[in-house]
Symmetry: C2
Subunit: 444 residues, 2 copies
Amino acid sequence: MDLTRLISASASDAAQAIRSGEISSVQLVQACLARIRDVEPQVHAWQFLDEAHALAQARARDAERSEGRAGGALHGVPVGIKDIIATADMPTENGTVLHAGRTPERDATVVAMLRAAGAVILGKTVTTECATYTPGKTRNPHNPERTPGGSSSGSAAAVAANMVPLALGTQTNGSVIRPASFCGVYGFKPTHGLVPRHGVLKLSRTLDTVGFFGRSLEDIALIAEQCIGHDERDPDTRPRARPPLQRTLAEEPLLAPRFAFVKTTLWERADASTVEAFARLTETLGVHCQSYELPPATHGAVDWLRTIMESEMAANLEFEWERGREYLSAPLREQLMRGREVRAVEYQKCLARSAQLNQGFDDLFDNFDAIVTPSAPGVAPPAATTGDPAFCSLWSLCGMPALNLPLMSGPQGLPLGVQVVGKRGSDARLLRSARWLVQSVHKH
Amino acid sequence: MDLTRLISASASDAAQAIRSGEISSVQLVQACLARIRDVEPQVHAWQFLDEAHALAQARARDAERSEGRAGGALHGVPVGIKDIIATADMPTENGTVLHAGRTPERDATVVAMLRAAGAVILGKTVTTECATYTPGKTRNPHNPERTPGGSSSGSAAAVAANMVPLALGTQTNGSVIRPASFCGVYGFKPTHGLVPRHGVLKLSRTLDTVGFFGRSLEDIALIAEQCIGHDERDPDTRPRARPPLQRTLAEEPLLAPRFAFVKTTLWERADASTVEAFARLTETLGVHCQSYELPPATHGAVDWLRTIMESEMAANLEFEWERGREYLSAPLREQLMRGREVRAVEYQKCLARSAQLNQGFDDLFDNFDAIVTPSAPGVAPPAATTGDPAFCSLWSLCGMPALNLPLMSGPQGLPLGVQVVGKRGSDARLLRSARWLVQSVHKH
């Protein structure tokens, strides 16, 4: 492995090189830290980073390897953690001054799973305020005037800027897929309920999903597979076999996958570059892609998601509301005020619709392997906002697995993502279909 | 088996006698139908009963046996079904004129499970209006001026009056334990989520639980064990091993169980006969029973249950509200109006409390095998009401398994039940502890 290119190496290659002794975890972490020193002043991806602590973890991993104790799939590989995910050895501040200086007593389940897989927890990445819409300090690595997207802003930017090969984020509406699209990296929101959320800031039990950022599908499958499991403290996880994401991703599909190109009711929000890019993409995919019109039953999805999200946020952020709403941003206060007004009957009606919507997709997935749709209306907008999550809302509402594929570009060469969405529970198949799509596009 | 005493035989003995060929299912069903002809004019337990259809089922079961196909644990045994549980061969009217004459297309899962176990579905038993508080026509078999309790009025009364050895009911607040207490039979509300509710009138996903009536603990274990299982259409059921209720019930506990006598905050509602009966009971149990005061965190349980129940009812009965609220009783309309006003944040807060309450009981169950508490404030009140469910609310809110044991009596010799409550998921142990308690009382 070329040491000068360590920072752009894939996590899979790096893990293999560490396993074989070709490089050490300390070398890899040092390369990442040097890169961070270079670009962090422009990107501002990190909320907390202690170089000495990161290196101490790397040295411990190297010592374990020299003693023959290096079984984990991510042994020695650094990972960035969104700052709403609890770490017992670093602060977890949730993007609000109300939680400044807070260090949890225990790791979130997903952090403990990464440590068990041998990962080095490099540091905490910037989140928007309480993982909602008010931006943090992070800027888009492709253009500092633009947003990296939110709410997993720092995680997407850090992976895009080669500061770290892998990072954890979370999505409630569009907080993994949208920043991945704006920053030009792979983003993966698995099926709701696969990855335990214990220790993650709770906004919405119905919608919150832990997700992943990486620079290849292989890396996404590698980290996601370490983080799937049952945790009694997350009542939406289930005891079941871990899906073989990496093995399925590596398989050739027996038949070329079929993609449903879905414009949704939001197509008028898509800008000219997106419309043009998707025309080219569907042309490239040819017979493997067919337009599919969603039934009218799906048309209220953005509103139903908002009703569920805001009323669950109002319940889950009640402590923050009661103790210090004057320290919350005006947009977040407005969301919580709206959420507090929702009636329980309306809330339950929206929950019931989400269950019905999922059944409605059975027909689509009888005929198609995956949905192809925009990740966002266009490239990253100016940094005053975090961009529009609406192209993610329906899939978040349904808890369906979604990937951002960084395959296209728009004005000023800024990244423009393709969102592919799979059937609930068919995460491995979604990854395999996505790989086929990526290869098809690259062949052209 | 003495044919003149068939109607009072236990279901376990009857099933054994049918298996061995000593009696036929037709004989047993004929005996039940004759008894019904005798006492139904006073008790009014049945909403639908077609003698010919019941006998046809019994003949089919007898034919199967003669062909060597009689493997089910309830082969040939008649069971009464509360009229909010769907049957494909009989109407299911939910106790409201709005659903008069409605016959579902399919059996509820639990009815299909009973048929698979060989049961004869004898008929449909009277429910209160939509399984809420407005009484149906049923009267208490011990005194026709008194209520049988609700909402599983007909099921409790039919089993008490020897019309049928077993019956299904449901409990959302106190609808199994309370009528079992008033009618003097065993009643069992298992842990929430053990018995599938697909095909059962949905009032409250959080609270609704299918339960059982019988004249012995053995019969309760026999029928409950047939009805536990996973059903994808009930999202609160889980794939897991069926608990060995009958085997555990038959075991001698290694150590004599310890009971916590819990008065709850409702003790002032208990009438003089209840106070006196529980003083005698705890004296009888001696060192095996100890008073236990619940922490203040439990004190709002009755209100939290009402908030959850009424807001979920308002969502689930919206069709009835929109299409024909003028056909609903005034009390039910008031419940639905209150439910429609509940805010989503308040509703979620009550749901969260129910989860916290359950954790709080871990301490109690580290030291005790089961809770002993009244099933109701006293004996059955006059038939204009269905009695007070409040002594059941906390356990329903927590989804804990509960039994009514018909061990005591009050004024005019009317039945007075003992409620024993177990740890969530420890249904088999609860049955075993209850058997020990019953034997202890009978020894005195």
